[in-house]
């Protein structure tokens, strides 16, 4: 939250002008970020994406609220104390819970906001005009990323606050400190996940001159990871099936499971379900011996965070890799 406040002050210095009477003119980078943000907020594309996310959000909220009483009265459920986490995860099966839906919509949001970031400027002839201004070249691509991610962060933070607020009004309860932490961590992971897809689509927008090509390529990558990736790995697993029980079979199984686990969508679902369902204790396969004697109870927030640490670092790493490649390509390219 403090970060948002700092951003806000940097981005909208005019609001503070009465405090600092002789405020220097804003840095060109902030001017560009501000322009990107206002472009996003005013664009139809963002409004449509926002409406879709709002619809999902309230649809799943409605379903979880109607099923809240039975979910909370289930004495065997170790998560029954976490009312607000239940709001985000409870479902009767007619609509997937909110965090699973975000796993689908997040990529769309990221791709939608980034696929024409650089190539549209180039095709409109604005890129070279901006490059002829006395600003370093990387300002443009940094501003594209910062502007989009600021809008996304703003959206997710306000959405989660809205959800929590609605939950408070409807249930009459207030969230515990741990729930607040978990929801904050969930929002952070959502932002990182969307940032990954955003960077991937910015990468394609640097690489491909036509916006349609870059959008299609980004969507193809998304489809590949959501649909075909698992199928291909499953087929490979069957093709190389070693005799069951042998050491080789175990190693291969482990390797293939790891491959499935590193798909970005899987990283996101794993991380968010662990954070939002405190009783999830491990994401990998557990042996019977490890399960023996375990009491079905919830983990503390730090323990859940430990479980998802690899997922979290993986997502952040993928985001940074995508951004570095697009940065490199952008700095090297002829801007004509």
């Amino acid at each position: 939250m403090r970060l948002t406040a700092i951003w806000h002050n940097r981005i909208f210095p005019a609001l503070k002008s009465n405090v600092r009477a002789a405020s220097p003119s804003p840095s060109p980078f902030m001017v560009m970020v501000r322009k990107e943000m206002s472009d996003h907020i005013r664009s139809w594309r963002f409004i449509v994406l926002l409406l879709m996310i709002l619809l999902t959000c309230f649809g799943s909220l409605y379903i979880s609220i109607t099923h809240l009483p039975e979910a909370l009265s289930n004495a065997n459920d170790p998560n029954r104390d976490f009312v607000f986490l239940k709001l985000l995860t409870a479902s009767d099966g007619s609509l997937p819970p909110f965090h699973v839906l975000l796993g689908f919509l997040g990529p769309l949001l990221g791709i939608g906001m980034g696929f024409d970031a650089v190539n549209s400027e180039q095709n409109n002839g604005t890129l070279i005009r901006v490059m002829a201004q006395p600003i370093p070249r990387d300002y443009l691509i940094n501003a594209k990323f910062t502007g989009a991610i600021a809008v996304i962060a703003l959206m997710f933070v306000s959405l989660s606050l809205l959800l929590t607020g609605l939950g408070m009004i409807i249930t009459g309860l207030s969230p515990s400190f741990e729930e607040v932490l978990r929801i904050a961590a969930f929002v952070f992971i959502c932002i990182v996940y969307v940032a990954f897809w955003l960077n991937l689509s910015i990468l394609f927008s640097v690489k491909f001159r036509r916006a349609a090509t870059s959008a299609l390529t980004a969507i193809a990558v998304w489809l590949f990871f959501t649909v075909f990736y698992q199928i291909i790995i499953g087929m490979t697993a069957r093709a190389f099936a070693a005799p069951a029980g042998s050491r080789g079979s175990y190693m291969l199984q482990k390797f293939l499971v790891t491959l499935i686990d590193i798909a970005p969508g899987k990283l996101f679902t794993d991380a968010t379900s662990t954070l939002l369902i405190p009783s999830v204790r491990s994401l990998g396969p557990l042996s019977i011996r490890q399960m023996q004697g375990a009491i079905p109870s919830s983990l503390s927030f730090t323990d859940s965070l430990m479980v998802v640490w690899p997922q979290l670092t993986g997502l952040i790493a993928a985001t940074i890799v995508c951004f570095s490649i697009s940065y490199y390509l952008f700095m090297r390219r002829e801007i004509r």
């Binding site: 060109p28 001017v31 560009m32 409109n124 002839g125 005009r129 002829a132 201004q133 600003i135």
Partner: protein, 322 residues
């Protein structure tokens, strides 16, 4: 002579095996309007991009306003305004907003809005200031582009094909505007074009650029002299009746005349290049040789012809190379 604002020394730029600019030596003085003339693909835009530091030269040096664009592009861009050939604006913003955005990117102080409005007025766009830039016509965009360059108050402005896609009346107004602004504010202007006619109206000096090298430079009268080197006149004659193709029948006689430097024969027409106006002598020679002259015309070289000739020459060389 005043100190040059932009100088290039032995400037070269290669794109793969293609040499776009080769060994360019250029000097642009303070306060002058310099026209860079040349056909498409001659390397004009590449040269401009190198002056701005948007492309790195393969070899050679550039200096603009005392800075090297390759090492300190930002200092150069602070002082040099650039209007690209296909200038574009943010279509969802008004002309005024586009201008204010650029002014802010340049860290301009004070009342940006009023400054921007003043420049819009200067280029005659005050009526369209609050319209979205997407609705602007080509000529209006070009004017907005000029305002966009001027609002930063640069020392030098570089215009790449500024007359492209504007109708003739618009071109005249636009160039007139550039000239006025240059004289008013002592701006140095470098403009590139492939329309000699348009450029000769406003330029103090021009340079003709063909295949990456500058083949001639100077003010227009001296340029015309350089380009003709003793052949300012051409007499064209057509002979009726069947004559063998190849050499004209009277080539030796014609070459023997005083002042004739070359004789060519093409499509039944004889071209005689000469240093003085000796049309009557040529006519007499042809008639006394017993040829039926059906057409005789004295051509004085206009700048356009010069230009045409050089570009055709360029085309020929290209074809020979291929």
């Amino acid at each position: 002579m005043e100190t040059p604002v932009i100088t290039t020394r032995q400037l070269c730029k290669d794109y793969g095996s293609l040499r776009a600019v080769s060994n360019l030596d250029l000097e642009i003085r303070k306060g002058e309007i310099f026209g860079l003339l040349g056909p498409n693909g001659a390397g004009k835009s590449t040269t401009i991009l190198m002056i701005l530091g948007l492309t790195e030269p393969t070899s050679g040096q550039v200096s603009a306003c005392g800075y090297d664009p390759a090492t300190s592009p930002i200092e150069v861009k602070k002082r040099v305004g650039y209007l690209p050939d296909h200038v574009g604006f943010y279509d969802n913003m008004t002309g005024l907003e586009n201008l204010c955005h650029i002014a802010r990117l340049n860290r301009m102080k004070g009342d940006i809005r009023n400054t921007a409005l003043r420049f819009l007025q200067k280029v005659g766009l005050e009526a369209a200031a609050h319209r979205k830039a997407g609705t602007y016509s080509r000529g209006m965009k070009q004017r907005l582009g000029l305002a966009d360059v001027l609002v930063r108050e640069p020392e030098v402005i570089i215009l790449d094909e500024p007359t492209l896609g504007i109708d003739p009346a618009g071109v005249r107004d636009f160039l007139q505007l550039i000239r006025e602004l240059s004289r008013e504010q002592g701006l140095t202007v470098l403009l590139s074009s492939h329309h000699l006619h348009q450029v000769q109206q406003v330029c103090d000096r021009v340079g003709i650029f063909v295949r990456g090298s500058l083949i001639a430079r100077g003010d227009i009268p001296s340029l015309s002299e350089t380009l003709h080197q003793g052949q300012p006149f051409t007499v064209e004659a057509e002979i009726s009746g069947s004559t063998a193709p190849g050499n004209p029948p009277v080539k030796e006689q014609l070459l023997a005349l005083e002042g004739v430097s070359d004789v060519t024969y093409d499509n039944g027409k004889i071209q005689v290049y000469c240093s003085d106006d000796i049309t009557p002598v040529i006519a007499r020679t042809l008639v006394t040789s017993g040829l039926d002259v059906s057409y005789l015309c004295k051509k004085e070289y206009g700048l356009d012809d010069i230009y045409q000739r050089y570009f055709e020459g360029n085309y020929e060389t290209n074809r020979n190379m291929a």
